[in-house]
């Protein structure tokens, strides 16, 4: 019981993980250890890390219910914020290395490459979630906060589409992300857990 009560403090572990992850990335980039095409490598790494934190944040509330540890919910906010942070870096890398900060090219990319427009839409939806992640915003928004933050499921779904649209010769990466998304969202359905228990 004591452990479960202290779980809330574990959210700091998420901050440590996010910070270490970023330091590793920055160090590798600065020391030129990402190979001859570091831009592409950084786009992949920041996209992956961002999506991983996002999935982790999604998994927390089913997990909290499963192990009856409501304090775990406190991990959600740092996980979500680190997801947003890495996906902002993802966007910065894209702006710097793929389109060279050109508005004209951005517009062209958004129109011509649906995987980019879907990614951009997902990122845009994360912005209001990050902005309303404070306790104050939560109190002010009341019940609407929960409704708003359900957007995170849409973000995850768009993230999957973003990856599935990138598949060329091998679908394992996009497939795994999508499978994990489906499993996490699926586990939220009480019917499903009831079904599993009944067996």
């Amino acid at each position: 019981m004591g452990l479960k009560r202290r779980l809330g403090a574990g959210r700091w572990a998420i901050h440590v993980a996010g910070l270490l992850s970023f330091i590793w990335l920055a160090a590798a980039a600065i020391q030129n250890q990402l190979g001859p095409d570091p831009i592409k490598q950084l786009a992949l790494l920041t996209g992956d890390r961002g999506f991983q934190f996002l999935l982790f944040s999604l998994a927390i509330s089913p997990l909290a219910r499963m192990v009856s540890a409501p304090l775990l919910i406190q991990w959600r906010r740092p996980a979500g914020l680190w997801a947003f942070y890495f996906l902002c870096l993802h966007l910065l890398v894209f702006a710097q290395g793929y389109i060279g900060w050109s508005w004209a090219l951005l517009v062209e990319e958004l129109i011509e490459r649906p995987y980019i427009s879907v990614g951009a839409l997902a990122w845009l939806m994360l912005v209001p979630l990050a902005l309303t992640s404070t306790r104050l915003a939560r109190r002010k928004l009341g019940r609407r906060w929960g409704v708003l933050h359900r957007l995170v499921f849409v973000v995850a779904a768009l993230g999957c589409v973003h990856l599935l649209w990138q598949v060329r010769a091998d679908w394992i990466n996009a497939g795994l992300y999508t499978l994990i998304c489906v499993l996490i969202v699926g586990s939220r359905y009480r019917n499903a857990s009831w079904f599993l228990k009944a067996n």
Binding site: D37, I39, K40, R168, D170, W171
Partner: protein, 326 residues
Amino acid sequence: MTKQFTDPTLCSSDITPESSYLNRRQFMKSAVAGSSALLAAQPLVSKASDFVGVDTFMSAEESGWALQAPDVLTPFTDVSGYNNFYEFGMDKSDPARYASAMTLDPWSIRISSDGGETADIQFEDLLRAMDLQERIYRLRCVEAWSMVIPWNGFPLAELLRWLNPEGSYRFVQFRTRYTRSEMRGTRSFSSVIDWPYQEALRMDEAMNALSFIAVGLYGKSLPAQNGAPLRLVVPWKYGFKSIKSIASIHFTNRQPQTSWQSIAPHEYGFYANVNPEVDHPRWSQRYERRLPSSLFSPNRIPTRIFNGYGEYVADLYKDLDLRQYY
């Protein structure tokens, strides 16, 4: 100017860079050449210079394909460390890690034609018949990155003339070696490529002066991950046309399906000429990152039509709508 043809695993500082299989082939040059049906028609003139033909080559300046300003050579470590060779895995570093599993010696190439001819040619025999030269070409990958590479090899036209198939054909088709036990990428259950990898050229493209067969780079025999022992280099087309580790050559009159074309016909055409005006659904083709690039200076440069080789190849396509035949 001549240079030593040396082993890729040895650096120039090594004292005796003489142990590569290519050099062994040079030694064997004096041995009796095995001949095949297709080879039989070939006048294999043996001159004194033939005996040194393998370990020496005409420099890029002499061959007429020197470095063109403002290009800068991509360092050997990048050329040999950053590869697409899906037979060995999807990651760019996989080929360098795993391609050494491929058996390079002996290497035979199956030659065939619609007319029913078939013959197996040993790479050594082929090499013995060719004069090597160096050419510095830009390589533009469809993924919007590019390199500048000093290749060693011979014109594809020379090879085709030497093979001398009976009759005339409109296309030449190539297949990459496919050995499941040696190529871990081909064992991946999530890959959608139908092995072996296939590519093809129209005969006039193949006979163009630019089309090249590389057996080395940077004056060393080809690293396995770069397509050892021999690969195509067609610098005005996206990199995936430049098929690696060639195991068979087929002469045909029907336009062959290529691997990428059969995976995604609306994304990859038969021609795959570098063209900034024809966009690919995944990458804008207007710019490329010339490698090595870095985060703070990405080295993004505009892509040129036919990768800048228009004056040599544009004529091939004067009757073709390049938007339709991409």
